[in-house]
C-alpha cells in the first residue's frame, strides 16, 4: 500500500516537472522589454505577414487547382478512354488532391493562430505573446512542409509522364 503511494507520488512529481519545465521556458528580460517597447511595430509586421500569406495561399492554391483540373484529371480520363494502364497516375491524382486539401486545412489552422497572436497585447502579456508566436511558427513550418510535399508530387508526376512517353 505504502509502496503504491510512493510510486504514485514519484510519477506525479515526474509529470509535474515535465509540464512545468515546458511552461517555464520563456523569453528573456531583454526580449520582454523589447517586445513591450516595439509591440505595435511587431504586430504591424505580423499583419504584413498575414497579408502576404493570403497572397501566397491564393497563388499556390490556384496553381494546384489548375494542375489538378487541367492536366492530371484530363490525362487520366484520356488514358482510361484509350484503355491504357494508369494506376500510378491515378494514385498520384489521389495523393495530389488529398495533399491539397491538407494544405488548405493547415492554412486555416495556421491563420487562426496568427490572428489569435495579433490580438494578444504584447505590451501587457509579452510571455503569452511569445509562447503563441512559437505555436504559430510550428504551424508555419507545417505549411512549408505541405508545399514541399506538393512539389515532390509534381516531380513524381512529371517523371511518370516522361516514363509513359518513353513507352509510346
Amino acid at each position: 500500500m505504502r509502496r503504491n503511494a510512493i510510486s504514485l507520488f514519484v510519477i506525479a512529481m515526474v509529470l509535474m516537472t515535465s509540464v512545468f519545465s515546458g511552461v517555464a521556458k520563456g523569453i528573456s528580460e531583454a526580449q520582454s522589454q523589447n517586445l513591450k517597447e516595439h509591440c505595435d511595430e511587431v504586430r504591424e509586421k505580423l499583419k504584413i505577414v498575414q497579408k502576404n500569406d493570403a497572397k501566397t495561399r491564393v497563388f499556390l492554391g490556384s496553381k494546384y487547382e489548375t494542375i489538378l483540373n487541367k492536366y492530371i484529371v484530363p490525362l487520366n480520363v484520356r488514358l482510361v478512354e484509350n484503355n491504357l494502364s494508369s494506376n500510378g497516375l491515378i494514385d498520384l491524382q489521389n495523393s495530389f488532391a488529398e495533399t491539397r486539401a491538407v494544405f488548405n486545412a493547415d492554412y486555416i489552422n495556421y491563420q487562426q493562430s496568427l490572428e489569435n497572436l495579433v490580438t494578444i497585447d504584447c505590451k501587457t502579456e509579452p510571455d503569452k505573446f511569445y509562447n503563441e508566436l512559437s505555436i504559430v511558427r510550428k504551424k508555419r513550418l507545417t505549411m512549408e512542409q505541405d508545399v514541399l510535399k506538393m512539389r515532390n508530387l509534381l516531380t513524381q508526376y512529371v517523371k511518370s509522364i516522361t516514363e509513359l512517353k518513353g513507352k509510346m
Partner: protein
C-alpha cells in the same frame, strides 16, 4: 377636454402598431441571420481563404498578372501520342517554373525574431 383629445391622438392605431412590430421583427431576423452567417463564415475558416475581405484585396499589379496568364487545358478525348504528352509536359513545366519562382512559400524567415524585431537570445527561467 383638449387634453383628452391629445391623448387620443397619441394612441397608435392597431395597423400602425402592427407595422412597427413587423419592422422590429424583420430587423431582428436580419440581425440574427447575419450574425449566424458571419459566425459560420468565421468558424468554417472560409474567411481565411477569402481575399475579398477588407485589407486582403489583391494589388492592381497582381490582378493584371492574373489576366495576362494563358489558359491551357489538356483535352479529355483523343489518342495519346508522344507529341501530345510532350505538349502537356511543356505546359506543365511552365506552371511548375512559375511555382518555383514564387518568393517565400511559407518559409520560416518571415516569423523569425530578427525579422520581427525581437532580440535573439532565449533565457530558461528555471535556471
Amino acid at each position: 377636454m383638449v387634453i383628452e383629445k391629445n391623448d387620443e391622438n397619441k394612441k397608435m392605431e392597431p395597423g400602425g402598431r402592427n407595422l412597427v412590430l413587423l419592422g422590429v421583427f424583420a430587423t431582428l431576423i436580419a440581425v440574427i441571420t447575419t450574425g449566424v452567417s458571419l459566425m459560420l463564415y468565421h468558424n468554417s475558416g472560409d474567411i481565411y481563404l477569402d481575399r475579398s475581405r477588407p485589407g486582403f484585396l489583391p494589388d492592381e499589379e497582381e490582378a493584371e498578372e492574373e489576366r495576362v496568364e494563358e489558359e491551357y487545358t489538356f483535352s479529355r478525348s483523343g489518342k495519346i501520342t508522344g507529341e501530345v504528352l510532350d505538349e502537356l509536359l511543356k505546359n506543365l513545366d511552365l506552371e511548375i517554373q512559375s511555382i518555383d519562382a514564387y518568393d517565400d512559400q511559407f518559409g520560416e524567415g518571415a516569423l523569425s525574431d530578427e525579422r520581427l524585431g525581437i532580440p535573439l537570445e532565449l533565457d530558461d527561467k528555471t535556471n
